[in-house]
């Protein structure tokens, strides 16, 4: 067990280092000079040189990379090239929106998907199963930002129940904030839920065919009891794998959806920074998102071992 976690931990660290190297090389080594990009092509060479020294860009790549890594360890990500304020603060301001949004849509995804998946598996090949499965087929094909626009059309333009965008903040209590994240969270969740529902359904159907299910039925347990106490736990492995992978999609999705609803989250920050040529902010945001993806998948892998003790070191 502990060897398993340790091995996964080493892989996790290696992946994070690899990802940071790629991000650093793409954003800092390829473009030549960030100072030149900041000031534009027609800036005087002296001014560019002065800014280069001021931003510390005259130092060798390895020194700057190590500085960045050291800074990340202590929470100092450097200062924004454009605003001059600490990058860590800029990001933290945006995370109070992006993290609740991601959590809300993951909750909606899991609720919808498990309900639909278990219902369809329990009613295999009946009308309800076929109907819900056709719906999920359509759900998978919807671009989430288009679904978001359709939700805006319905709830903001036609019914005028919710605002078409913007974020109320958390200062006036939880409800106004949750309300402004509701449509974005739903539009992110529906597409993911369609995929997860299909995975849940086939996982449950797979387990229903196992011998131990027949044994449980033979010893007198009802269909419902078997489903809830024996089948679900065993069906959770593939479902959780996909949930882990979906979290990556979800984070990528928040970047898109925040732009649809004009939400001041991490995604908007990245876009502003690209427009401002604020590469240090882009670099740290991308690293943060990549790290979240990797860490979530690590947690999922470790959770397997708790759900299914049969998974051991040699299974990796």
């Amino acid at each position: 067990m502990s060897v398993f976690v340790l091995r996964r931990l080493v892989t996790l660290l290696a992946t994070l280092v690899g990802a940071s190297l790629i991000i650093f090389l793409v954003l800092d080594a390829l473009p030549g000079n960030a100072a030149q990009m900041l000031m534009g092509a027609d800036a005087s060479p002296d001014a560019v040189r002065a800014l280069t020294i001021k931003l510390g860009l005259d130092q060798p790549l390895t020194v700057r990379y190590l500085q960045w890594i050291k800074g990340m360890a202590v929470g100092d990500l450097g200062n924004s090239y454009v605003y001059g304020t600490p990058v860590a603060g800029l990001i933290a301001e945006r995370l109070v929106l992006t993290i609740p949004l991601a959590i809300m849509s993951m909750l909606i995804t899991v609720t919808l998907a498990l309900a639909a998946g278990i219902y369809t598996a329990a009613n295999h090949n009946k009308l309800g199963d076929v109907g819900v499965m056709s719906l999920t087929q359509v759900g998978i094909a919807l671009p989430n930002f288009w679904f978001a626009i359709l939700l805006i059309l319905l709830f903001s333009v036609k019914l005028q129940w919710l605002s078409a965008g913007g974020f109320a903040g958390w200062d006036d209590g939880i409800w106004p904030g949750v309300k402004s994240l509701l449509l974005p969270a739903i539009s992110l969740a529906v597409v993911q839920a369609a995929i997860l529902a299909r995975v849940t359904r086939s996982a449950v159907l797979e387990v229903l065919r196992e011998d131990f299910v027949r044994t449980a039925r033979a010893k007198g347990l009802g269909k419902r009891e078997v489903l809830w106490s024996h089948v679900l736990r065993n069906a959770m492995i593939p479902v959780m794998t996909v949930m882990g992978l979906q979290f990556a999609n979800l984070l990528a999705g928040t970047i898109v959806i925040e732009n649809v609803f004009y939400l001041p989250g991490l995604g908007r920050l990245i876009f502003q920074s690209i427009a401002n040529r604020d590469l240090i902010v882009v670099r740290n945001c991308v690293m943060l998102l990549a790290a979240m993806v990797v860490i979530v998948n690590f947690v999922v892998d470790v959770l397997y071992a708790f759900i299914d003790p049969r998974i051991k070191v040699h299974d990796l």
Binding site: V26, P143, V282
Partner: protein, 298 residues
């Protein structure tokens, strides 16, 4: 593929991947999701091809006088804020979508299959290295790579093709390596080895042909994902740039006009959904038809 011995004894030949048999088209035409998927995909490809020779109106022609016209006999779906004909824009937009999709999947497929076959053939540290590399490519969804590229080289079709293509690679690596490993464990590969064939020849002559159907199915599904990613990137302004029409870009333009012309935001999204739905159904159908063992629970 079925050898005479098993056929003679009447043993089930399911352990050998079945090739598309002579009755392929007969079975295909009876397969509901294959037929529906193929029809939708043909519709999208047909629109793209049609736009090369004919569109109802010139897609790039700006005519401010007739902007935001409702659907009429001359403009079937109306016009956008520049007075451009929506139908013509949708037809030309299909072209960008398919172009980006084909090239991106092409990049993912060729490099992914090469690495996957190499990993399965060489084993050992080569396999370990390739799999770890593909693991951390997973940490970069297409939107993230596109953001990095756009920050450095600027947005554009090339940026979105590269970003989507890179994200496709690890998926093909995994699928290829997984199914190639299964082939390598089979007796006919052992026989080929015993007859003196090297790893490269076995890969080309035995492994690749046997995993081809799995790859075709995966490529179809990846094509659908690539279309979704392309739409998202061009919606964000990172992908296909104006004046080149693209469905994602059209949605972005339409969003600013939601209160005046809500229908403008409906058509391009529906076009994307039709393309993606068609490819997904086609992929499901092909999976059932090409390799019954892979058929999903229905």
């Amino acid at each position: 593929m079925s050898d005479p011995l098993t056929a003679a004894v009447g043993l089930p030949t399911t352990s050998v991947p079945s090739r598309p048999a002579t009755g392929f088209w007969r079975r295909a035409l009876r397969h509901r999701s294959f037929v529906l998927g193929a029809a939708l995909v043909c519709l999208v490809i047909g629109s793209a091809l049609l736009s090369l020779v004919w569109t109802p109106w010139p897609a790039y022609e700006i005519d401010i006088a007739s902007k935001l016209k409702p659907p009429s006999f001359s403009h079937w779906l109306g016009t956008d804020s520049f007075g451009r004909d929506i139908v013509s824009l949708l037809l030309v937009g299909a072209r960008s979508t398919i172009l980006v999709g084909i090239i991106a999947v092409g990049i993912g497929l060729t490099s992914g299959v090469c690495f996957g076959l190499l990993a399965a053939a060489r084993k050992g540290w080569t396999e370990e290295l390739i799999m770890r590399m593909s693991d951390f490519t997973f940490a970069f969804p297409a939107v993230l790579s596109a953001i990095m590229l756009a920050a450095v080289v600027g947005p554009g079709m090339l940026t979105s093709i590269t970003a989507i293509g890179i994200f496709q690679i690890p998926i093909f690596v995994r699928v290829t390596r997984g199914s190639a490993n299964a082939i390598w464990a089979r007796e006919f590969v052992l026989a080929a080895r015993a007859s003196g064939k090297g790893g490269f020849r076995i890969t080309i002559e035995h492994v690749l042909p046997n995993i081809l159907s799995i790859l075709i199915v995966q490529a179809t599904i990846q094509f659908a994902l690539a279309i979704l990613a392309e739409a998202a990137l061009s919606y964000l302004g990172l992908g296909t740039q104006p004046p080149q029409p693209s469905w994602g870009r059209m949605l972005n333009d339409a969003q600013t006009l939601l209160f005046q012309s809500p229908m403008l935001a409906v058509y391009p999204g529906a076009a994307i959904a039709v393309a993606v739905l068609g490819l997904n159904l086609l992929g499901d159908g092909l999976r059932d038809l090409l390799d019954p063992r892979l058929a999903r629970e229905r």
